[in-house]
Symmetry: C2
Subunit: 220 residues, 2 copies
Amino acid sequence: MLAPSAVKASARASRLKKSVETRFDRRQSEILDHATSVLCAKGYAGASMRDLSRATGMSLAGLYYYFESKERLLYLIQKHTFTTIVQQLKVRLASETDAEGRIRIFILNHLEYFLANQKAMKVLSHEDDVLENGFGTEIAALKRGYYRICVSLMDELKQEKGLEFSSRIAVMSLFGMMNWIYTWYKPRVDGGAVDLARQMGDTFLTGIGSKQLRKRSSTK
Amino acid sequence: MLAPSAVKASARASRLKKSVETRFDRRQSEILDHATSVLCAKGYAGASMRDLSRATGMSLAGLYYYFESKERLLYLIQKHTFTTIVQQLKVRLASETDAEGRIRIFILNHLEYFLANQKAMKVLSHEDDVLENGFGTEIAALKRGYYRICVSLMDELKQEKGLEFSSRIAVMSLFGMMNWIYTWYKPRVDGGAVDLARQMGDTFLTGIGSKQLRKRSSTK
DNA sequence: GTATAATTAGAACGAACGTTCGACCATATG
DNA sequence: CATATGGTCGAACGTTCGTTCTAATTATAC
């Protein structure tokens, strides 16, 4: 009878009948998709559960069958988005060893995912610090992991090319460049992810690359 | 008896007794300062008038003596912030003719103001599209004007150095770099505006500067 | 086909929202 | 001192908020 999502989740995990993707999961994903649009448009605090209810076509009470709270709904969106982008990045990074090439892969992966999932990425970027306690720290950890990957790529580059600059500020600048996109990007005007990634990659890497530690020392 | 801020404003404007800065203006500014902190911390939609009342030490009803609505309060913060930064920029730009120098001034001005008024600038950046109709279009116009200044600086640079790149994307990338600061900046760790401006200026200008239209053509 | 569980919806909860009203202080001018 | 005006407040308005209860409906298994 009463089966909120927490109870539900463990029940499904222990049973695992025929398909891993249960009806529950499918419906939940659909709802999350619609919810993402609304949260993107109105912001987390500005969007009401009634707004989400309306957008998904599900009753207000029905939503609480799938999500135990509004906060958990945002958490699920953010977690899924972060997990997916990191996972996709790791696959792509595995096939490249050159430091500059790896940073270009990072940029391309970020921008491609960003443009392909603009609404979710805006919700991720814009509602960065609204989750509290447990939810908040978990998402913050995912974010830190993602940032750390980028920092280590930057360190690789510095070592490989004998450069000297603050990895932290470089990474933050790069993320700023890329994440700010959600405030201005227009598909018709600004081209696709590949072009954008090349342009931002050129600008960033050439700029960063000029900070030689000492004159000419290509290999260690 | 009944004297909401709209009526008040015109009354003060027509009288202009001894000091231009009336008690009303002073108190209103104080409230706006406190309100900025709250809006920065909780977001526009997430902050209630009761939160602002608590932070300013003024009663809920008292707030409405100074601001006819919550929306207008945000509008006043954004308008003041934008106006001030643009005005300060114009003064500084007047004393420099070199294209690269002017862009460096733009960056420095933006970052200095940003770091000196972090909360207001976060409210400006983060609550970019929450104002509607009249309020919204006026702030949007101020923003467009500010952006256009930067675009024209970029065009100057392109012409002066014979470069070829998209001014729009360059400007947006630069703003992303700078505005993203509010998500990561820690005074103790990341230094002051001058250092940051030099670092970002170097990165950006060197990166952008590599996009020669053709080899060597310094002047028109 | 009936029992059992998964899914949905209507109606309501108390709390908090933005805003308003009318009555109070404070201050300064006559 | 009287009186007008600028400033402030407590209390309440009607609405909407996130959430929950209970009952009805639908899918699944025997």
